[in-house]
Symmetry: C2
Subunit: 349 residues, 2 copies
């Protein structure tokens, strides 16, 4: 199989498909946290209780034809496969660790992923390319309705859906967008903008979830609280703020063209040159350069590379993906060399 | 005319032709300083005396068929043309300035250039690609014999050929080689090596003559004194030292491959990537990157660029050449942009 085929076979839906506002919003995600009444939460549940959760959800999902989902027991998956799922943002790093009755339901396109016995009994996740919170919510809601019709969810009239963690109690909804904001960074406006976002009750994180640094000017923005807010309000609020962020980033891009056209042109093209010619490259440096290249594409300065390159490569250049593509374990230096090859194969595609 | 044609039309013999040891020795030069008896040296000569020098040399050189030389009065040449000749190392910056009766005899291939009324009445220069001091000396010697047969050179039995400057008195010979020593630099052995060369009575200079810094790891090595040494000894000594330098540089290249293969591979390829993609680039940075690329080619790491690229571009990317190629005066930013275009046109040839 050619490297080109291998690359294409390893692209997941939200990474490779197009979506609205894709130049700035890489993806939208909806996650619903649900628990089953009368069963202890996973962290306190006995194996039998955890097995009960798995059994009931499998029963329901295998008897419907609304959406085709494959069930996998986490313990049955090779470590590398689990790491791939983490790198694709399908499951959490915690869920990738072995443990009793931890399960995953996955749609063919990988746009739907349900984690069983992670922090909650059930976590429904929908991932879409671009700004598609409404569409993601629709898909998640249908799955939620399907499960709720057959299960007694832990629910209180006063608090809403109950959860192990108070921040998930209420609607149990976490909506998030992954945004690429390089021009706000280059014009030194990023701190101000992210500060304003926090003040609006939204959380800002780096590429790999809580506590992670921003890599490649990519930020995840999500609602902080689910209690006391309707699903509709949460999604509308995030959508509104995201649109403002898009406007700010677009203004910053205009400013770059007006104030320092030659400088940024030079920087974007040099980044492409380094990506195309490096013999070895770290994940961190790749992301920095890919961020520049994507901005160059989106600003019309680089025209022989397609805009999907950042979202594709931000996943493909992670260690597990490189090792899967190469078919064996690799040390850091070997990964840096293979990463450069992979990037070059993709850029020349 | 295409940029490719323009580039080819602007290449001078020593730059584009091949020669022995060309991977390390870019060029060899022989320069003979001669003065005519009973005429004051140019700095003290009256216009009539200077005109007398010109007249006599023109008479001799126009009546021979040994070598075809074109005469030009410096004052008749546009400033840009003179600057081009300086950048091609054909004439000195001082000789490019206007002044009475300053002349240049130039061979078609530009491998021979005779300056009239520079510091001395006559300066015969021969420039050859690679290590060809013997051949250059042969050509210069024939011209010298030709002139000496018809002119009374200022000569003393005790001191030899007399000159304005004591360092040129004696044989009047300056022999020099231009060497590319990047590996000695990368392995931190350059200072030691150049120190040893100085102790052997040789002078080390940067790319653009006395007092200039080394650019692109290129050094000019020449004899310091001409008094009390035969031409043969001077040339033999420089040739011997140059061969030792070549050996040292080759050993350093081996060391790089053994000790830091991946690192240098990465550095050379990245240099090529930057040269191929930069939107604007300074002369200084170009030389640094071109030096890396040439080393990459000579070490077999880069195989899709030919080794002549450094000596060609080190001349073509200088301000006067860029302005000639572009056909108009350019400010620094415009030159940096055109320089990048020119380098990319050459690299893609």
């Amino acid at each position: 199989m050619s490297l080109k085929d291998i690359i294409n076979n390893n692209l997941t839906y939200w990474v490779s498909a197009d979506g609205p506002e894709r130049d700035i919003v890489l993806s939208s995600r909806i996650r619903l946290a649900r628990n089953i009444e009368k069963l202890n939460y996973p962290n306190r549940a006995k194996p039998a209780e955890r097995a009960e959760v798995t059994k009931r959800v499998i029963e329901i999902l295998s008897r419907q034809e609304q959406v085709k989902l494959h069930y996998m027991d986490v313990n049955d998956l090779p470590v590398l496969e689990r790491e791939l799922m983490v790198e694709k943002h399908l499951i959490s790093p915690i869920h990738a660790q072995e443990g009793s009755e931890k399960g995953i339901f996955l749609a063919d396109q990988e746009n739907i992923c349900i984690m069983i016995n992670e922090e909650d009994h059930i976590r429904i996740q929908v991932l879409m390319p671009g700004l598609q919170l409404g569409k993601a919510w629709e898909i998640a809601g249908e799955l939620d309705d399907l499960l709720e019709g057959k299960l007694d969810y832990a629910f209180s009239e006063k608090w809403g859906y109950l959860s192990t963690c108070p921040t998930n109690t209420g609607s149990g909804l976490r909506a998030s967008v992954m945004v690429h904001l390089p021009a706000l960074n280059l014009t030194n406006n990023i701190a101000k903008m992210l500060g304003a976002v926090s003040q609006l009750g939204l959380a800002v994180r780096g590429l790999y979830g809580e506590g992670s640094e921003s890599v490649g000017n990519i930020y995840q923005i999500s609602n902080q609280l689910t209690l006391g807010h309707s699903e509709h309000d949460i999604i509308d609020n995030l959508k509104g703020v995201t649109k403002q962020i898009i406007d700010q980033e677009k203004q910053a891009r205009q400013l770059l063209l007006q104030k320092m056209e030659f400088k940024v042109k030079d920087q974007f093209r040099r980044s492409l040159g380094l990506l195309k010619y490096a013999y070895q490259i770290s994940s961190q440096e790749s992301m920095k350069l890919l961020s520049n290249v994507k901005l160059g594409i989106d600003m019309g300065i680089i025209d022989d590379v397609d805009s999907g390159v950042l979202s594709e490569l931000m996943v493909l250049i992670r260690p597990a993906h490189i090792q899967k593509i190469e078919g064996k374990e690799l040390d850091e230096t070997a990964r840096d060399i293979k990463r450069a090859e992979l990037i070059q194969a993709r850029l020349n595609m």
